[in-house]
Structure formats: C-alpha cells, structure tokens
C-alpha cells in the first residue's frame, strides 16, 4: 500500500486496540489458585489444632494429681517392734509402711482401727506407692521413728479419677472401682482440705509404674533424649555426606542410579523391619544389650537416613550451577565449592529433612518393639547402654492400659512428647530461617 496515511490515522493505528488476553478468566484462575493455597494451608493447620485440642483437652488433667495430706505417725510399734534396726539393716526396708498410712487416714476419717472391712476400703484409697515414699523417709532419717510427721501422700489412681470426675458415679456401686463409701470419704477429706489436687511432678520424673498415680515418663524422656541425640549426631552428618557424594561426586551410571533408587526404597521399608534389622545386626551380631537406647538410636538412625538423604539431595539439586562455576572458576576445589557455597545454600532443605526425620524418629514405636524397648522399665538409665524406653513407647503402653487413670496420662504423655518435639526442633527451625534467602 503506497497510499499516504494521515497522522491521525497513525495515531489511532498505533494505539493498539486492547487485546483480549482472557484476563477475567485468568484472574479467576489466579484467585482460585490462591484460594486453594489458603484452603490447603488452613486445612492442615485446622487439623493440627483439632488434634492438639483433642489431646490437650483430654490430657491437661494429667498434670494434676490428687494427694492426701495427713499427719502420719511413724509408730515404732509398726516399723520396728523389736527395736532391731541397728543390727538388721533389712528391717527398715521391709517394714509394713502402708499400715502407717492407712492408720493415719483412718484416724483422719474417724474410723476405728478394728473395723477390718472399712480399713480395707480405706487402704484402697491410698496408692501402693506410699510404701516407698514412707520407707525412703525413714531410711533417710531413722530418727523420725516414733514421731508424727505431716506427709502428703499419693491418692490411689481410682480415687484420683473419681475426684477428677472421670468415673461415672451414677452407675451402681458394683460397677465401678470406687465405692460410695469411698466417695463419701473423699468428699469429707476434700472439705477438710486434706485431699486436694497438686501439680503432678511425678509424671515428668517417675519411671514406669503399674500404678497410674505413680507412673511417669522419666525413663522414657531420658531414653528418647539419648536416642534423639544419637540420631542427630549420626544421621545428619552421614546423611549429608552420603547425599553430597551421590549428588556431586558419584559418576552418573547404572550403579549410582541403583543406589538412588535403593535409598528411596529404604524410605518405604516399614519401620518394624528396621527393628528386625536392629535385632539381627546390633543385638545378635554385634552383641549390644537389649532394650538399650544405644541400639534404639542406631535403628532410628537407619530409619531416618533416607529422609535426610532425599531432602538433602533435592536441596543440593536446587542450587543453581552458576554458583558452582563461579567458585570453581576461582580455583576452589570441588570439595571447597560444595562446603563453602553449595551446602550453605542447600541448608534449609537439609534442615527440613532433619526436622521431619527427627520428628518421625521421635514418634516411632514399631522398630523399638523388636529390640526390646517397648518394655516396662522402672529404673533410670544412666548410660545409653542401660534398658530404657521412649516417649512414644510409653504412650503406646499407657494407651493399652486398662485403668481409667491412664487415659488422661496417655494424653498427658502425648503433650510431653509434643513439647519435647518442639524444643528439639526449635534450634533447627531458627537455623533454617537464618539460612533462607531469596535471590
């Protein structure tokens, strides 16, 4: 076209007509996409809160324990009638201490010491743990024999449940563990101020016990602590080292493909199989002791490794090659390039893997089953070689207990586990935040 165009024609011509680029639809899609994101995130968080709520609402009562404060007469008559404690060291250990507590309680309730039937019911109100409590007092200070001391004693688990309103008192007496008589006494004592709820320190520090009121997660906490320490100390360096080798050094061939697939596959191995492995390798072959947190730590390390390796490899892959070229071009060795530049950039991913891996390891029971850590352990472990349990194990075992009082304690133990989890991960989370950078 050679026709001359007027300036105005050009003016309109170049003012390109607004194209339809489907904005409305695309914005709807954008909003939808964003909404999906919000929905997904809220969904996850809501469920977290529902879960936490269901645990906390059931479990917070576990941090209180009903106790009875009584003046207890350490009667020479009962403890050491023949006055032989100088000569017979065993005597103070084996004396019939529960009688002391029972008598004290009976006295407080105004029950004659000859009413055998009632005394029986009275003694059921106190925990069997009073034996050890009173014994320890006497052994520590034999001088209190013959005196009267005010002692705060654990109430029996059933009474504790009744006092917290967890036993349905409307059913007939025969169908529950506490009798109407006992409930009456309980109310009487509560009014007098002798029976009250106290903060339950025992749940944190006591070892396992078949008596709910005296049971605690002390041993499990230590066991979990040892195991997590071992898992962290072993799996993080090993996992990162393995990932670095596989991602940065290993020749890309069938064999390394096989290793890669194999590691992915290890993540799919049911955790109990790691228990079988631990039993075969660490206990039967290497001769390490059963029920030891050392073995548990090793087993959980093996279980955690794939998680850390997969996360680390993904993070290493995501580091742009230009960073590697830059460092290599300056004469940094490959090792230096990786440790100085690539690894710090991959750190958030590595830490995520660690956080998730450790969280998984902390909550895992099944592999511990076969190496003997799902067990009743009353004594504190002093080293990782001693028998101990772990928090999830304690939860698992309490969840299977018949007594009502264990129900709230199970939830209480879960709360403790979650607190442990949070404390354990806080460091990693803060560290991860420091390493995160956009560029």
């Amino acid at each position: 076209m050679s026709q001359v165009v007027t300036p105005t024609a050009i003016a309109t011509g170049v003012r390109a007509p607004r194209r339809d680029i489907g904005l409305k639809k695309r914005y709807a899609a954008e909003r939808r996409f964003r909404a999906y994101g919000i929905a997904a995130l809220s969904f996850g968080l809501i469920f977290l809160f529902v879960l936490l709520w269901s645990v906390v609402s059931k479990g917070y009562t576990a941090f209180q324990q009903t106790m009875i404060t009584l003046p207890v007469e350490f009667s020479q008559q009962v403890i050491d009638p023949q006055n032989q404690r100088e000569t017979n060291a065993q005597l103070l250990m084996t004396a019939n201490y529960p009688i002391l507590a029972r008598n004290a309680l009976a006295k407080a309730l105004g029950i004659s010491t000859t009413d055998r039937a009632k005394l029986r019911e009275v003694s059921q109100m106190l925990s069997d743990g009073v034996r050890v409590q009173l014994r320890d007092m006497v052994v520590a200070n034999p001088a209190i024999i013959g005196t009267t001391q005010t002692v705060t004693l654990l109430a029996a688990g059933d009474l504790d449940s009744a006092f917290k309103g967890q036993i349905d008192l409307s059913v007939t007496q025969e169908n529950r563990k506490v009798s109407d008589q006992q409930v009456g006494w309980m109310k009487q004592l509560a009014e007098a101020g002798a029976l009250a709820k106290h903060f339950n320190t025992g749940i944190f520090f006591n070892g396992a016990s078949s008596r709910p009121e005296a049971a605690g997660v002390g041993v499990a906490l230590i066991g979990s602590f040892y195991m997590m320490l071992i898992v962290l100390v072993l799996s993080l360096p090993i996992g990162v080292a393995a990932s670095i080798y596989l991602e940065e050094f290993a020749p890309k061939n069938r064999f390394t493909d096989l290793i890669e697939v194999n590691i992915n596959n290890l993540a799919a191995v049911p955790s109990i199989v790691y228990g079988l492995l631990g039993l075969a390798v660490f206990i039967n072959f290497m001769g390490l002791p059963r029920s030891a947190s050392l073995v548990g730590g090793f087993v959980l390390t093996l279980m955690t490794l794939p998680t850390i390796i997969i996360a680390t490899r993904a993070a290493l892959k995501a580091v742009p090659p230009s960073i590697r070229s830059a460092a290599l071009g300056l004469g940094a060795s490959k090792m230096q390039t990786i440790f100085h530049h690539v690894l710090p950039l991959a750190m958030p991913g590595i830490l995520t893997g660690t956080i998730i891996g450790l969280a998984h390891a902390l909550g895992e029971t099944a592999p511990l089953l076969l190496i003997g850590m799902v067990a009743f352990v009353a004594n504190y472990p002093t080293t990782p070689m001693d028998p101990s349990t772990a928090l999830p194990v304690q939860i698992y075992m309490w969840a299977n207990e018949a007594e009502r009082a264990f129900v709230e304690r199970t939830s209480g133990a879960i709360i403790i586990l979650l607190l442990f989890l949070i404390v354990m991960n806080v460091g990693a989370i803060l560290l991860r935040r420091r390493f995160e950078r956009r560029w």
Binding site: M93, T94, D128, R131, V132, I167, D168, V171, E174, N175, R176, K177, G207, A208, S209, S210, R211, I283, N284, G287, P289, R290, S291, L369, L370, G372, M373, V374, A375, F376, V377, A378, N379, P387, M397, A399, N400, E401, A402, E403, R404
Partner: protein
C-alpha cells in the same frame, strides 16, 4: 547384667509389671526387672535364641509353649525350661453400658458370627443382620462383634470354647460333619468367622475394642476379665450360659471361657542372673498370685490352692519340660 529381662505376651504384661514393680520395691538390692511387651511369639523366639547374658531370662506367654518351639529352643541350647502357670485369664463378652442385660449362649455367638450357619438343615452363608434375629436380649441393632484378631492367643480360646461349642449346640456341627469327612477341616469350618464386616478382628489391645464399642454402641466386644473389671462403668458384661464372669466363677470352672497364663524360665540362668530365682519365687508366692493378691485384684483369676502349691513345688524341685 544385673537386671532380669523378661519378654512376651501383652496379656501377661500387666501382671508381670505389677510383680516386677513390687519385687523391685521389696528387694531393694535388686533392680526392677525389665518387662518387654511384643507378643508370646516374639517373646518365646527371643527366649529360644540361646543361653547367656545376651538372651532374655523369662518369656511370658498367654498360651502353652508348642512342641515345635521347644525343639527350636533345644536346638539353640535352651534345654532346660521351667514352666510356671500363674493363673487364668477370663474372657468375657461385654457391650456398652447403655444396653440392657445380656444373656448369651455359645450358640448365639456362633449364629451371629459364623461364616455359614444351618438354616432349614442346610449350610448357607450367614443371613443374620441384627442381634435381635438371634436373641432378643442382645443389643438392638445390627450385628457387630469385636473379636480378637488371629494373632491373639485369645482368638484360639474364643474359637474352641465359644464357636466350636456353639457349632455343636446349634446342631451345625452335625450338618458340617455330614458334608465334610476330613475331621480337621470340619473343625475349621465350625470356627470360621464371617467376613462381611459384622465380625471385626481387633489386632490391638482391649483399649481399641473399648473405643470401638464407644463408637458403636450396639457392638459386642471380647475382653479380658481384668480389663472389664477396670471399666465396669462403661461396659455391661454378658452372662454365658447364665453364669456371670468373675474370679470366683472362673476359678471354680463354672464360667466356661478362660485360659491359663504362663511364663517360662531359663533354668540355666537361675543363679547366674542376680535376683532371677527370687523373682520367680516372689511371683508364685501367694502374696502375688493368691486369691487376695494384687494380681487377683487386678483381674487375674487365681489358680486353685493345690495347683499353686504344685507350681511352687515344681519350681523348687527344678522340674523342667
């Protein structure tokens, strides 16, 4: 090693725990034994690994050791095994406490749960949908029974003492025997459980059964007596053949569904592992397993006096299997 190591049945575990704890308190110079859970099978397997410090001392079991296991033990050097029978575990049927009184007979259970029942003299796939079709005292609503999974020792007892019995009572056994000549297979048929979802296997513990009943009020669950006694306010127990389950009725043999509980001791470890002998003696003493003992209070059905005495004698005499 200065600590006794025990592994095995989760049914025996609560009793073993109580004994272990009391043992630790009563004998302060011995450490409290470690009691592992993990099932009779796993416990016996560890038990039969061999003799020595690295192996466990006691295996708890909710069933008697099988001859093949004794063989395996022998092969590994565990030649001397002492069997200790600690008492009985009662198995009860219970439903949510909101239901009415329940009276059942084995044949009711059989009809409700068998894979095939006899209707008009013929074996047909179980047609029953509601409890009321079988027995009006049972909960009103669709049949749902929570029975121990096949991994549990209790299942065997349930099959033998309830299903097989019910099979007999209801007359199905005759029809089955008529149809199938092989006695073993006929017996198996008698105890086969329906698989349409009415009978639910529970591989977990009784707490799971309890939770399931709480979620489904018309369900009937199978529990251990001890567990039931701890949750009486939530559960309503069923009479079997008119007998209410209790320690008395079970130990007297009136209540039919129960089983013995055991533990096995490695004789070679006696006198080597500190406290082992004392532990066993403590366990079998009347203070622990007698009718008035803490274990009985928890729900263990004490063995008759003479049986307990026999157990103590056998142990003292070092009687092995």
């Amino acid at each position: 090693r200065d600590q006794i190591q025990i592994a095995g049945s989760s049914t025996v575990l609560p009793y073993a725990k109580i004994v272990a704890e009391t043992f630790g308190e009563t004998f302060p110079n011995f450490k409290t034994p470690v009691v592992e859970s993990g099932g009779s099978s796993a416990g016996l397997k560890e038990f039969c690994k061999g003799v020595g410090e690295a192996t466990i001392d006691i295996a708890n079991s909710s069933r008697a050791i099988k001859s093949s296991e004794v063989e395996a033990c022998k092969a590994a050097g565990v030649t001397e095994i002492q069997e200790i029978r600690i008492g009985y575990d009662g198995i009860v049927f219970a439903t949510d406490s909101s239901n009415g009184e329940m009276k059942i007979e084995p044949k009711d259970i059989y009809k409700a749960l068998a894979a095939e029942v006899v209707v008009d003299g013929k074996l047909v796939a179980n047609p029953y949908k509601n409890w009321s079709e079988i027995n009006p005292t049972l909960p009103k609503g669709p049949i749902a029974a929570y029975i121990p999974g096949s991994k549990h020792g209790t299942r065997e007892v349930f099959e033998e003492k309830v299903l097989a019995e019910g099979c007999e009572q209801s007359g199905a056994a005759k029809v089955i025997k008529a149809a199938i000549t092989d006695a073993k297979q006929a017996a198996a048929k008698c105890v086969a459980v329906r698989k349409d979802g009415a009978a639910v296997d529970i591989d977990g513990d009784y707490t799971e059964t309890l939770a399931r009943i709480a979620a489904n009020k018309t369900g009937v669950g199978v529990f251990g007596l001890a567990f039931y006694e701890n949750n009486m306010d939530k559960l309503k127990v069923a009479t079997v053949d008119g007998v209410v389950p209790s320690t008395e009725t079970i130990s007297s043999g009136k209540y039919p569904v129960s089983r013995p509980l055991f533990f096995y001791v490695k004789k070679a470890h006696l006198g080597v592992i500190p406290g082992l002998k004392e532990y066993v003696e403590f366990f079998v003493s009347d203070a622990m397993v007698g009718p008035d003992s803490p274990l009985a209070e928890y729900g263990l059905v004490a063995a008759p006096d003479n049986q307990r005495e026999q157990v103590r004698k056998d142990f003292a005499a070092g009687k092995t299997m």
